[in-house]
């Protein structure tokens, strides 16, 4: 294989593992030795997955409702799941409450001695029950199985408060931009270069219809407002009152001077025309 072919092969494989290929590119790849392609692709797939995990950040726990939904869907693929779940369900939870019905197993026929055994067992049970009733404690304690304590989620407000204590964290107050309807905006933005994270806190930023437009954050490292500020991601406001929005800067951001919120089409834009500026926050020099 020539150097050129090798470059082409790895360009195609890299694209395939990162984004997938177009049909014409798949065709190009098909012209290479498929045993080589398969082996190389598999190792690149492992590499990419490893990088993805390494660079992902801390894991966020799966929401409870999603856990339940996925768990439920598993029973379609693993037919025994529902039955085993029923067997291991807590004893205090009636099966009827869980919507589980049981088929009566067929019992072998009992002979005379069999019935005698059952009668003796029944008598012993009655005696035991009477005994428990007579000698029960004055204040009976009913064992109640509490559901396991769920860890309290860390809210954006908690994370913002933590970030405020970080050394070198900067804070700037929001002021109105050029949108008349958003003149009463208040709040602040906190950013840490060290952690490359930040939080925006707003009051007075209206709820947006995400199908029509979204808010987008821009981070300027030059107080003169450079032409290509850092994209801080788009976000929605879904409730009135105070909202706290994490900043997801996609590029390394150093010493931000100005934060700006623009209103853009759904999904945001690569370069903003800066026609609708919802808010601005200047970091004090």
């Amino acid at each position: 294989m020539t150097e050129e072919q090798r470059d082409l092969l790895f360009d195609l494989l890299t694209k395939k593992v990162l984004y997938g290929l177009e049909p014409s590119e798949e065709q190009q790849l098909a012209e290479f030795d498929q045993s080589v392609v398969e082996a190389e692709f598999r190792s690149l797939e492992i590499t990419t997955a490893a990088i993805n995990m390494a660079e992902l950040g801390d894991f966020e726990p799966m929401p409870d409702h999603l856990f339940a939904r996925v768990s439920e869907s598993a029973s379609e693929w693993m037919p025994n799941a529902a039955a085993e779940e029923a067997e291991t369900a807590p004893a205090w939870q009636p099966a009827e409450d869980r919507g589980i019905t049981y088929a009566e197993p067929e019992r072998p026929s009992l002979g005379w001695f069999g019935w005698l055994g059952w009668a003796a067992a029944a008598a012993a049970s009655i005696a035991l029950a009477l005994n428990l009733f007579v000698y029960r404690p004055a204040t009976p304690e009913v064992a109640k199985q509490e559901p396991p304590a769920q860890p309290q989620p860390i809210t954006p407000a908690d994370l913002r408060a933590q970030l405020l204590t970080a050394p070198n964290a900067v804070k700037a107050e929001w002021s109105a931009g050029n949108v008349k309807e958003i003149a009463q905006i208040t709040g602040d933005v906190v950013w840490s270069d060290d952690k490359q994270t930040g939080y925006m806190r707003f009051r007075g930023l209206p709820v947006n219809d995400a199908n029509k437009e979204q808010y987008q954050l821009w981070i300027f490292e030059d107080a003169k407002l450079e032409a290509h500020p850092k994209d801080g991601g788009v976000f929605d406001v879904t409730a009135d009152g105070e909202v706290i929005v994490p900043i997801n800067a996609k590029l390394l951001t150093k010493s931000p001077k100005v934060f700006a919120i623009t209103i853009e089409p759904p999904g945001g834009v690569v370069v903003s025309k800066r026609e609708k500026i919802a808010a601005l926050a200047k970091v004090a020099a």
Partner: protein, 184 residues
């Protein structure tokens, strides 16, 4: 030797399903949230990914990768497919999106497999531009063109950084032998 969760699933042990969700739910959810940037899409994707995991459990080979990496691979396949068939733009983000942390985060106990820890080491040894391109493409799911637009790098340079960076990390992981490829 104790069977892995995937081996137990492949063997029909349905109790392994919940173990799998408990152990890998956070990983898959975080991957989906980061790449899809929309909670509703991420939820649908997570469900589909775990179905893929149940169906492919028997293909897991612990001599080739860790269980964690195998599940991340399955997740990425599904997520890339989702991105390709959606109109997601690079800047799409959601209100309570998780944050990127700096590279030093890899020093924390992440309970990840060896591959991920070694990949973190290898990433730190890459040139900053290579790190940036790989981070944007792998973690954010941005295309080469989108990275070129966002960073101002020529498209060809983005491709080269991606190819050389990924091969250098692979080399560090001991998965390939492409020394001439990774030469800078």
């Amino acid at each position: 030797m104790t069977d892995s969760i995937l081996q137990r699933i492949a063997a029909g042990d349905s109790t392994a399903v919940e173990d799998c969700l408990k152990k890998y739910g956070g990983l898959v959810w975080s991957l989906a949230r980061k790449m899809l940037r929309n909670s509703d899409d991420a939820e649908d994707a997570v469900q589909e990914i775990f179905v893929d995991v149940w169906k492919n459990a028997e293909r897991f080979d612990e001599t080739k990768s860790s269980e964690t990496t195998f599940i991340a691979m399955i997740a990425r396949r599904r997520l890339i497919d989702k991105i390709r068939h959606s109109n997601r733009r690079i800047t799409a983000d959601s209100l309570d999106d998780v944050l990127l942390e700096p590279f030093t985060r890899a020093d924390k106990d992440m309970q990840l497999g060896l591959e991920a820890r070694e990949a973190a080491v290898a990433m730190r040894n890459l040139r900053p531009e290579q790190q940036q391109v790989l981070r944007l493409s792998i973690v954010q799911g941005m295309s080469h063109q989108e990275i070129a637009d966002a960073t101002g790098m020529p498209l060809g340079t983005v491709k080269t950084h991606a190819r050389r960076g990924i091969l250098q990390v692979r080399e560090h992981l001991g998965l390939g032998s492409s020394k001439q490829e990774v030469a800078l």
